[in-house]
């Protein structure tokens, strides 16, 4: 019916399309699983439901809130409107201290409690997460 050339070309195009679709599928799937949303304590308070996905919470470490023993570090992240308790076991960066900006990555237990798996702090000692800056600006 068709010539050899046409058949080859059809084969090539189907192969190309199917691989693109396959690629997109894996891409989107992996995307969905690995995207981490960044939220402030105030945004967490108004979440419709507590999801089981990993999130990042940014804010300032509340004064006098760090509590430490040999395995866990507990502290409170605040954006000066709302706050959230964080519990963490692992290593913290240099700039992690009270009154400084911090970003904690982990899983929410409820709207007041985060189990962090990683603590990030910015290199700049004057750094403030943008949300906190906004919150401070509004005050």
């Amino acid at each position: 019916m068709y010539g050899k050339k046409v058949k080859l070309r059809i084969l090539f195009i189907t192969l190309l399309f199917s691989s693109i679709i396959l690629f997109l599928y894996f891409f989107l799937k992996s995307f969905e699983e690995n995207v981490v949303y960044f939220l402030s304590p105030s945004e967490i308070k108004v979440l419709p439901e507590v999801s089981t996905k990993k999130i990042r919470v940014g804010g300032m470490v509340k004064d006098q809130s760090i509590n430490i023993n040999s395995e866990i570090i507990n502290f409170i992240i605040t954006d000066f409107k709302n706050e959230i308790n964080v519990t963490f076991s692992g290593s913290v960066p240099n700039l992690f201290s009270e009154g400084k900006g911090v970003v904690a990555e982990g899983y929410l237990k409820d709207r007041n409690y985060l189990r962090a798996t990683k603590i990030l702090a910015k290199h700049d000692e004057n750094y403030m997460p943008p949300e906190v800056k906004e919150a401070l600006g509004e005050k």
Partner: protein
């Protein structure tokens, strides 16, 4: 004050020379003989004035002249002299001046080095390069002049961020910039060659030198940056898939694809359109890299100095460059008659094309992962970040066919290869690598099939590359680079699979016992240095097999600006690195300690160096051929 003036007016003079070059070359394009000598001098003076202003800036830093704004905000009189000099490019304004210096130096070297090329092509390259150079001149003069002065003159500077006070990071930006800027020559030259319809074997020979230069510096630049991140940032990794790291990886991937394609052009004059597209994208990616890092669009873990207003300038500049290069590409690109030659499927060309497909795949993964969060934030105000798992999931599985095809392609020839000739040995090596990998898995007690397959594939490439050293017809440069690459993948994989980590919060005198051993925090001492106070802890670590090691990590409290940094203590052997870092959390009693064992760490550095070394060998051979 005087040095400041010299620096500032040198930049303006440099800009005048750029405009002069631009106008005279366009006007006299027909009268080529006169032009040839004139542009040579003009381009020398342009370089000279930029150099002068750069020297003026360094001089300002050395003499701690705090009347200058950027010296004031980035330097301090107690800083060691080496970091005073490095401070000149450790900030936004100075680093742009360095960009410009390298831009003008490279185009001057290009003029020197391309005397055997057609004159029109050389001059057009120069003209296109001037567009980039003028763009950067304007950027510096309008938005970020390094020579603003302050009055009254402050008596003391604010100091350089201590994390940046490090030998690796002092040389990291200049090397990376040499790589980025090298791609600008490739960009202008390929546009010039398109306009002149000069994409040919001879052109490929000439441009390959610049591709190699750019690629070597980019490789070394990324390497130095990773080494710095490894020992200074204290998390014990060397690659975080951070946007700032990704923007240096993207031009590298593009350039690697280009490096291989140009070989096909040189041998068979094929793929010319693809090469132009790659040259354009490499440079655009380099400029976007600078834009993303410097504009503050990327809020990354290591973004320093940033200012959004500058972003708009680079964005417009970038847009003009893209538009301009696309116009040239579509209007001037003529079909090459030689390109009708058929490619035999089992030849090097096919596999280089496949390599390119893989590179483009890796590039698009990294590109989307880096750019998507920015777009999402602009469009929907959602803030997201895409972590390492995203990249790992999309890149690592694809490595398996990539590695196997790469090993397979090594023994192919440029024209037809016979199937039976290559098969037997390669299959034998393949079986050996599978057996090896599974025996490693057995010894290490790992039951992960996926990891074993990955290790098999990289071992296969590793063994094939070793075999290649005994092949007399191969160039050593290629063998060394490919061997380096296989070693790199192998050590990254083994490092990733076999690394272990423990963290604990300890007081002085406490001992922490965990499954594989114990960490004892035995003592602490502190001393005062010129610009920081240091606290050194002594840790005694013993593992199950009674291997004993002492590590002394340090905390530094810098006075200007007041910053705490932790210096990890790393014991390196050829098998593994033992890495310990401590941080103070609150008050004086508790220290947060992280201890890591990272196998084959040093081989990651060595192999990347080998990769670049292979490139350099090829570069020197090409320069000597002339």
């Amino acid at each position: 004050m005087l040095t400041n003036q010299i620096g500032y007016y040198s930049i303006i003079l440099g800009l005048i020379f750029s405009v002069l070059i631009f106008i005279t070359s366009l006007k006299d394009l027909k009268n080529i003989k006169i032009l040839n000598k004139k542009i040579f001098f003009l381009s020398f003076f342009q370089f000279f004035f930029v150099l002068l202003s750069f020297i003026a800036l360094i001089f300002l830093f050395i003499s701690s002249d705090f009347g200058n704004e950027i010296v004031f905000s980035n330097s301090h009189s107690t800083k060691p002299i080496f970091y005073k000099i490095a401070g000149a490019w450790g900030n936004h304004e100075g680093s742009l001046l360095l960009w410009l210096l390298v831009l003008t130096l490279f185009i001057f070297l290009f003029l020197l080095n391309s005397k055997n090329q057609p004159i029109k092509y050389r001059i057009l390259t120069l003209v296109y390069q001037q567009i980039i150079i003028i763009g950067f001149f304007l950027f510096i003069l309008l938005t970020s002049s390094p020579f603003n002065y302050l009055y009254p003159i402050p008596t003391e500077g604010l100091g350089l961020n201590p994390i940046l006070q490090d030998p690796a990071l002092a040389i990291h930006p200049p090397i990376l910039y040499l790589g980025y800027v090298g791609s600008s020559i490739v960009f202008s030259a390929s546009l010039a060659a398109t306009t002149q319809n000069y994409i040919s074997k001879a052109w490929a020979k000439n441009i390959k030198i610049w591709i190699l230069i750019s690629w070597i510096f980019l490789t070394i630049g990324i390497l130095v940056g990773s080494i710095w991140a490894y020992y200074e940032l204290g998390w014990g990794g060397f690659w975080f898939w951070d946007p700032v790291e990704n923007v240096s990886l993207m031009p590298w991937l593009c350039l690697t694809a280009l490096l291989h394609c140009v070989l096909v052009l040189e041998k068979k004059s094929l793929l010319s359109s693809w090469i132009i597209i790659l040259s354009i994208s490499t440079f655009i990616l380099s400029v976007s890299g600078t834009f993303l890092v410097r504009s503050g669009v990327l809020n990354s873990v290591h973004t320093f100095a940033n200012d959004p207003s500058r972003g708009i300038f680079i964005l417009v500049f970038l847009f003009i460059l893209i538009l301009f290069s696309l116009i040239i590409f579509f209007f001037f690109k003529k079909e090459n008659k030689d390109e009708k030659i058929k490619i035999f499927w089992l030849s090097k060309d096919t596999f280089i094309l496949i390599n390119n497909w893989f590179m483009m795949y890796f590039l698009s993964v990294v590109l989307i992962g880096t750019i998507y969060p920015i777009f999402l934030e602009v469009l929907s105000n959602d803030k997201i970040s895409i972590g390492p798992p995203f990249y790992h999931k999309l890149i690592i599985p694809v490595l398996i066919p990539f590695l196997i095809l790469m090993s397979f392609s090594q023994s192919l020839s440029w024209f037809k290869s016979k199937i039976d000739k290559i098969n037997v040995k390669l299959i034998l090596v393949f079986i050996i690598s599978i057996i090896l990998s599974f025996s490693i898995a057995k010894i290490a007690g790992s039951k992960n099939l996926y990891n074993s397959i990955l290790v098999s594939a990289s071992l296969y490439l590793f063994l094939v590359s070793i075999k290649d050293f005994f092949n007399r017809y191969k160039s050593y440069a290629q063998s060394i680079s490919h061997f380096g690459f296989s070693l790199l993948i192998l050590s990254i994989l083994l490092n990733g699979i076999l690394s272990t980590e423990v963290t604990a919060n300890l007081k002085v005198g406490e001992k922490f016992i965990y499954k594989e051993g114990s960490i004892e925090f035995s003592s602490i001492k502190s001393y005062q240095k010129n610009n920081f106070k240091s606290i050194v802890g002594l840790f005694k670590i013993e593992d199950k097999k009674k291997n004993y090691v002492e590590l002394e990590p340090e905390l530094r409290i810098y006075n200007q600006p007041i910053t705490i940094t932790s210096e990890a203590d790393i014991k390196t052997t050829i098998y593994s690195d033992k890495f310990l870092v401590m941080n103070k959390v609150k008050g004086d009693d508790y220290f947060n300690v992280r201890y890591q064992v990272k196998p084959f760490m040093i081989w990651i550095w060595i192999s990347t160096f080998l990769l670049a070394f292979g490139g350099s060998l090829s570069l020197f051979r090409r320069i000597n051929e002339k």
